[in-house]
Structures are given as C-alpha cells and as structure tokens.
Symmetry: D3
C-alpha cells in the first residue's frame, strides 16, 4: 500500500486501436480463452464499448482517495481499472475529471453511482453493482501496481477491451499477436456467417457429421414409444 | 444421451399465433398459475417478445455441439429451448443460423454472448446470464427429448411464449384451452382497466369491502398514539 | 395486522418538489449517508425518476389484497411503498388504478410483472425482481403503518426520492433541512465539476496532496524491480 | 448518529426465561407469524440457543467502535443486536468482554470471525457470514436506539430468542401474551405429536379429509395412463 | 393439480439396499453423470444418509396441505420428495408422522424448520434452506405425480440416494444396471485407492504421461524468467 | 497453459510452523489486512486447520487432469491451491494421493465431493461449494505458476494458513516478518483478553472515551421522548 507509480510501458496506440475493432468474445477466443473478467461485470448503460491501456488502482475497502490520485497519472486513451472494493466508489465528478484527462472509461470491481449522468456523458463504466452509498478518504492505497479485478490479474499497461459482453484483458506484450489471431478468427467467421445466413448448416460447414456419428449420436424419426 | 429426434407433433400454427397475442403473466394465470420458468431468465434486450413451438436441446456441461445439430431440425416458427448448462453456449453465429432456418428465438438456461449483435439482429434470447466464455464440442447430447429448463419440464412441441416478464410454457395439447382462458381473462381485465383508469377502486369493482371487514380489517382516521 | 390508517401528516408539497430536484446519491450524502434502500432495488425501466410522500403497505407473504386497500387512501403526489414480500405482487391493473388516483410511482421490496405495460404507461416502479407469478387475496395486512422496505424503516408521510441510482427515504420532519444540505452540496459540486472539466485535479481542488504525503503515499517514477 | 442510551425498560426476567423454553418456529407462529429475522442469519456453531433482552447497536459501515461502547451498557441476560453492516465486525475479544459483562449472545447482520474460539467459549452468535476482514474505529454510531437487523425493526428491550432455526424478536410489551400463545400451541402439538408418532394421520387428527375433497382433491389408484 | 395417486411401481427392496451402499458421487458417475440434483440441496445435519423409493409431492407456493396427504400413502422405505416451493414447509411434526409411517427421509426444494428436533430424531432431510416461516393450507396440489425437484425430474418410484455430497435420483427401471456400474466402478477405485495410498501416482496408474505430452504439457525445472 | 514447474523456492519449514500457530484473522491483521481470500471459501468440515507451502494449479474449466500432474510435484508440508473452476474437481481418490505424498490440505476455488470420506480421512479442504458433478480430462493447464484463487494472487511457495475463519496467503518473502507481527499482536491481545475477561472495558483499556466524546458521542440516560 502507499505507492503511486507515474510511468509504465503502454502498448502502441495503433495496436490498441486495432484490438478495439474486435468484440470481447472474439478477443477472449483469440487468446485461447483467457483474459475474461467474471461475468458479473456489466456496463452501466447498454451499448457501452471502450478499449485502452489499463491504469490500475488498489484502494482500501470503502475508501476512494486513490481514485483522485490516479487522475493525475492518466494519459489520453487510458482506462482506469479498480480492484475489488465496495459501494459507490465512483460517480459523476470523478467521471468528469477522468474524461477531462483523456480517459476512455472505467472498469471497477465495486459499485458506482450517478448512473444517469454517466449515461448522458457517455462515459462508459463496467461495474459489479449500482450502489449510491458513499465512501471515505482516509487510507492510501496504490496506483499502477498489479491489481486483481473481477478474478483477473491486471498490470498497468495491459490493454482492456470492454463491451456489452463484458470485459477482457490482453497482456501488453501480446497485443499484436492477439489482434492477428482475432483478425484471422473474424475472417473465418465472416465466411461462416455468410454461409449460415444462406441456410447452410454448421454440421456441413464444419464437417461435424462423421464425428457426431462416431461419438454415438443417433437420429430417430419419431420420439421413442 | 445421444439421440436426435427429427419429427414430433407441433401445435397448430394459428393456435400458436393466438397465444402470442397474450403476455406471459396473462398466460401463466390462464393456465392456473403453472408453466412459468424461474424469474432469473431475462431477455438479452428490452422489449424482446417471441412465441413458437419448442425444439429442445440437452447438452453436456459447457459443450455446444448439439446446438449445431438442432439447427437442421428447426422449422419456421420454432423456438430453441436449451436446458441447464454453463457459460457462453450461444452467440451471433448460431443466431444467424437459427434465424436463417426460421427460428424465432432462443430460451437457454445458461449464458450467451454477442449481445450487441443479437440486439442488432433482433434475434430474441432469454438467458440466465451474459457470459463470453466459450464452449467445447466433444460429447453428444440429445435433441428433441424432454428437457428441464429453468425449473420447468419442456417437451418438444410445447408452446413457448416469452416477453419482458419472463418465459411461460404451454403444453401442446392445452394450447386452445389456454388461449380461451387468456382471452376471457383479458376481456375481464379490459373492463376492469377502463374502470380503474376512470378512478374507480378495485375495492368496489371486485366487491372486496365486506370480505375485508369480515377478515378483520379496521380503518383508523389517525395513526395510533 | 389489519389496520388501515386514512390520514397522516404529509410534507409540504413545495418542499417535496424541492427535494425532487436532487438525485438519490446527493440526498443520501446530504443526510449524512443515511436513508438509502438496499441496492437490489432497481427501476423497472431505465431513466425512471419519482419523488413524493410515502403511503405504506404491509402485506402477508404472496397476498396482494392490501394493494387494493391502499388505492383508496392515495392522494396526488404519493408514492406507494410495499415492504418485504414475494413474487408478482404488482402489475398493470394496479398501476392503472394508482395512476388514476394520482400516485407517482411504486417502491416494492418484492417482484412485479407487466414490465412492458409499466414502461409504456411511464409508471415508475423500483422493485427487487421481475416475477410474473401471481398472488392470492386472503389475509389482511395494514396500510399506513411503519414498514421495513429493502432495509429501511419508512413511515407514512416520509418523502421518497428514486432514480437510476436507487431509492432514498427522507424523514418527513427533515425535508427542509435535507433540501438545504443538498442544495449546498450541489453548489459546491457545480464549482468542482467545472474545475474538473477544465482539467484541474481533485488533488489540488480538495488540497489532498499534503494529507496523502502524511498518510505515507510515495510516488515512484517506474514500477519497482 | 452519536447517541448511547444507558437505560431502557427490559422485560421481566422470569417472563424472558419462560419464552426461552420455546423454539424460534413456535414463537414465530405464536405471534401470528411475525418477528422472524431473514433466514440468512445462521448460528456460528450447531446447537446454539440463546434468549434475552436486546441491547442494540447502530454502527457506520465497517466501523466497530460502537461495539465497545455497548459493552459498558450490558446487563446480565442481555443479547447484543447489531444492524446491517460488513465484514468481520466481531470476534473473540469482544465475545470475552460481552461474556464477562453477562451477555448471552450476539445477533449481527454482518460478518464475524474467530469461529473456533467462539465455539470453544460457547458464546452463541447468529450472523450473516463468516468473514475475517477487520474493521476501523473512526465514526460514532448509536447504542440502544431502534435498529433494523436482518429485515426486522428491533427496539432495545425487545426479547430475542435464537436457535438452529434462526432468530425471532418479541416486542417487550407482548412477552407474556406470546409465551401464553406458545404454551398453548406446544400443548396442542404435544398431543398431536404423540398421535402422529403412534401412526395416526394428520388428515384424521386435523379432520382435513372433507376440506380436501371439497377443494377438489381426487384419489386415483394408479398413475394416469 | 388435485390428484393423489395411491399405487405405483417401486423398485425391488433388495436392489434399493444395494444402491444404498454407494455414495452419491459414485452413483452419479455410474449413470453417466446424470441424475444429480442441484448442489444447493444440503443435509440439515452433517453425516445424514438415506436411500429409498421416491414418493412425490407437488404443492402450491407456501401451502403444505399435500404434505399431510402424502403421509397416508407412504410405505416403509420411502423417501418423500417435494418440488420447488418456499419457506418452512416441513418440521418436527411431519417428521414424526413420516417416521412413524416408515419413511426414511425427505428431499425438499424449499425451506424446513425444527432443525434441532430433526437432528435429535435422526430424520434426515435435504433442503434448499433453513427457514422458520410457516405455511398455509388452502389449495390442493398433487401426490405421486412426476415433480421437478432441484433441477431434476423425479417420478414416483424412482430411487433416491442422498448423503453429504447431495442427492441423486436413479430411474426405477435402471436400478440394477446402475448398481452394477457402481460396483464395477468401486472395485476399480478400490484398487486405485490402495495404489495411491502407497504413493503411486495417478499419472502412472492411469497411464496419462503420453497423453499429456501429446496434448502439449511441458515440464520446466524452474519458474520462467 | 501447458507448463508444469518442478522446483520453486519454499519458505523455511520452521517459519511455516511458526505461522501455523496463529489464526487466519490474526495473520490477516498482522500483514496490514491483506492476503485474505474471499469469504465464500469454507472448510468442508468444522474444525479444519492447515498451513503449508502453496503448490498451485491452473486448470481449464471442468477439467481436472492437472490435479493428477501436481501430485508428483508435491513435497511433504505442501498445500495444493487450485484457481477458479467448476463442479466436483476433487474427491477422495485425489485426497488419498495427495495425503500419501505428504500434502496437508487443499484450497480450491471450485466444488469438491466425497465430503464424508474427506472428513473421515481428516484431509482438510477449503472450497467454494460441495458439488458431486464430475470433470473431464482433456486439456492441459499449468502447475506451479501464479494463480488467482478466490480473489487473491497466489505464487507457488507462498504460505497458506486456513482455519474455520477462512484462508489467508502470506508471500514467501514476508513469512518471518508476518510471524513477528502476529506474535506481537497476540501478546497484546492476550493481555487485553485477560483484562476483558475480568470485566474491564475496551473503552478503558484502549482509552477510547475521549476520542468518542470528541467525535460527538453523547450519552443519554433515557430513550428520547
């Protein structure tokens, strides 16, 4: 506790933008089904989407002092990530501040408030709950140290992508590789999508019929007796 | 495990359409308060509504192989019903396929992903959770056998009606009778609604005053000292 | 059980309107972080907001008889408050009745149904769940006695304010004082908001730097080790 | 916040002892199915049972300062009741103190720790959770004011009875009347129990057969075809 | 609703006893990982174990009238199975009656009370919750019809086995076959257990090393970097 | 995925034994309220206690193949730690194997089965759930890499202490320092405990009276009118 780190390596901005073109589900698959935060993390308003470099906050329970400290260390394109906490840790005023400093959103394993203002400001937030109970400011925590958020370890500089499906983290050093894998996956899926839309079956496109027969699947014309 | 049934009796299409004019709450009441799935089943987007014949899927935990098998057995007007499972069993590609084969929606006691695409496609889904974690394809299950979904036993050919209030199942052989009861109920409610909207009281419309007095209700002019 | 109180003191209408200009989070802070109902109370549709005098209902489990009794005792500007209960206690017909009698909304520690109609009618409801299962009418409860709703004791005549952040109750006798405190708070926040929006930091606006240093916060230029 | 009340009326000690002879379920029935705390309140060790006068504590979130204040105001035979809170508010040291001052147990709508010591000391505790996370001591709350604990309003001096079934509160002024009702109920149940143990049926003892037939129950010799 | 079936086929008593020698986990595996009730079903006291023929009860919410009807239809060796319901549906008196009629236990997807008495009587119960809130007796349900209990469809005459791991249902017609499979499994496991207890590794006993290497597992002497 | 690390630094055995003399709550306090796993981690049987070096397992969902791989890498005094997973990942056979290889217990953020055998064997397990559903063995994970378990990052070689209060992790390099702090804390608490047991008040022992008065606490002789 008690350390605020000013500088750390961020991924290349163009590489982050490239990741941002994919959805959370695609990126989760593209990195071998890792990196997905727990599904209790939900966007505060429907249609929210954000991507950027993680700046991280570790705060004592119910204490949002560090949420002010992090504001100074933000750079345009960042996403603030706050580990396991309580209550209404975040609201309109901090969103105003973070937005003014260039942040693109917030991922917080705790409750937030001022839902209406956040929605009007279009400041996207993924949180565990809506909770209006306020916080205190009495004990320092840390900024830009590794934090656990909704079951995932997130380092400052990791890339966050979040949308209606949830939140995924991509380690900074794997950004290019994951974008490549996501692109390849999406290309394959585009072809499959068109064929499925035309009424072809996954059974045929993926060639599943033999494997299913071998695994013992039987077809019956009618329900058993 | 391991049986896919191709054919089963469906209810008359006109009878299903007739059911589809009523809401879930009305149909639940119209069949003597039975048939309602557990309330954790929520639509993926607000305003979703669907009705149709159930085609059913029983899949091993975290394995969505059978979700491809069912696609071939769908007929226009069907709703896919998937029993208790995990994670992100269903997403945009399967929705594309099901839509192309004429399905009207999905009821799944598990998680789904690609919320944004499902919303844009207007493919209505009722699920237990939004979860982007993917599935495997390694063990057959069954298609068009009776399944338990969110606490209700659903047979292939039963009729599903789903809206913002949840999901209700009507046994295939009771479709006409339930529609009659729903219609009668709605007629009664239309009259009551008009009277309530005009400021009349349920106490008077339903003639509750005597029963309440007999049951011991007392009116007091002021709060007790 | 079994008492319906007809009259009780309500707060001054103008004072209630004044409270209604503030959000739930502000009012919760303005009364020293008290009065907030449990965060599981959520609006049935996004953007809902309501304020008014509480009329209260205490009903036996799964029995909505008293919800008809209260309709007669409503006055324009009231909000109905229903304590801990089950299932689909409330729906379109009661909303029609309450609306016709001038009620502005409902706060219910139980489930409601007819979500689509409530949304179209713009009758705002905060509830614990959406649940279509119906109720019985067999045992009297009480109306306009103190009730516990989502963890708070609410007296008839207390003022309820509810929005996307949840529900807060303000004791009738403290309405003016809380409005004053909320107004003062909002004025302070307006100034802070403008400064934050201009890129100033909370650290400087609130003068936190010294306190943080004293509490032991250290800045590091780079991640340790 | 910020008031500690030293004196308040307690029920007669003999009357409390009389209540303590009955179980929670019996007392809940004996006062017309009221007074039961939410079922998430569980004893820390199996077989715990306690009864006594409530002394009450209202504490800010995660702050257990008031739990020390209440110790001085305890009298032999009291049970400490702590309203909705967080974490590990209570453990072995406070149990030692409360026990030394004559308290018979604790009912706390929050988490406790030192389970092993509490069990060895036989200091009975009913809580919402086991949680070892500690608390702060920075903001006063109140002692011996009415508190809401697990969904029930409890006044200082109300009588608490708790066992493996949960916790029930009996208003101070109704202690004798509830004990009478419980005694009458238990007498009736003793007779019924003996008859049931001898193999007689509740159907006959309670004379339910006609009512069931009238309500439409049919007996069938075999399952329907 | 409203049917009580007196007679139905039960499995052979010796076959049921044979099943009762195996644990829930073994039987669940022995029938290809089917039949397990949801894990929220927990024994009321540690060490509970029971096996027998299911007699089934379908009751309206919060109404335990049918729990008396079933008592008459019990035969020695039966286990009562009660589908999804609420509250304190069952307690000491009914346990006395069921025990006197020869029942071996209860499986109930609802709450029970009188935990202390049930424990002293050694009447084993698996339930969803401990809840002391009582029930009404006003609407008939059915007895000995198929019911859904904790996510599984259970027919009267199916065999129930329950222990500290939970509850499993074995269809009546598969009792012998499942016992055979369980016996074979247990024999294999006995051998494996002895070898494991002697310090041999599952890797070698099951011959997993090659498959793991083929699947890509690498051993490293030291942590990377 | 796919790496099993054979060797890593463990803390000194005597230092681990020293830690094992303290309870989880004391150790959590002794390291500045860090290291506590989420409170949903509960012992499978009451009275369980264990301490030792973490060996860690990262396994794909519902796949317990790695739980066999880790057995070979165990050393006497180790505790196996398994990150977020599903179902009945662990039971009697693996407990036999781990016990034979010298392991002292298991901490698993998933479900376990064979509760009765684990209790009889006195093999202590802390888990998220009891669940008898089995697992597959098809995809490698990793052994002795950092894992997240119940909200905490655990490295191989960190020290785990677990008891009825939950589970705490102490980083390997801080073992001595935390034991010192725990010892100091326990000494202070022993003195306080004796004074509390003699009837002294925490208010006096900790000298809280002035601080409380300054913070605004008022004593009243009687409840406010």
């Amino acid at each position: 506790m008690g350390v605020a780190v000013r500088n750390f390596a961020r991924a290349d901005a163009a590489a982050i933008e490239r990741l941002g073109r994919f959805g959370v589900a695609t990126l989760h698959e593209a990195q071998a089904r890792t990196g997905l935060l727990k599904p209790y993390m939900r966007p505060v308003y429907a249609g929210a989407a954000a991507w950027g470099s993680a700046v991280t906050v570790l705060a004592p329970p119910g204490d949002n002092w560090m949420l002010h400290v992090v504001a100074e260390l933000l750079r345009p394109g960042d996403i603030v990530v706050i580990g396991d906490n309580d209550d209404g840790m975040f609201g309109e005023l901090l969103a105003t501040s973070y937005g003014a400093r260039g942040a693109r959103g917030l991922v917080i394993d705790a409750g937030v408030r001022d839902v209406k203002s956040l929605t009007e400001m279009k400041f996207p937030v993924w949180s565990r709950a809506i909770h209006a109970r306020g916080t205190i400011k009495s004990t320092p925590g840390s900024v830009n140290v590794p934090v656990i958020c909704a079951g995932m370890l997130i380092h400052p500089g990791d890339v966050i992508v979040a949308d209606d499906d949830g939140v995924v983290v991509i380690p900074r050093t794997r950004v290019g590789q994951v974008a490549d894998a996501a692109e390849a996956r999406e290309k394959r899926e585009d072809i499959v999508r068109r064929r499925l839309a035309a009424g072809e079956l996954g059974l045929d496109i993926y060639g599943m019929r033999d494997a299913l027969a071998k695994a013992g699947l039987k077809y019956e014309e009618e329900p058993p007796g």
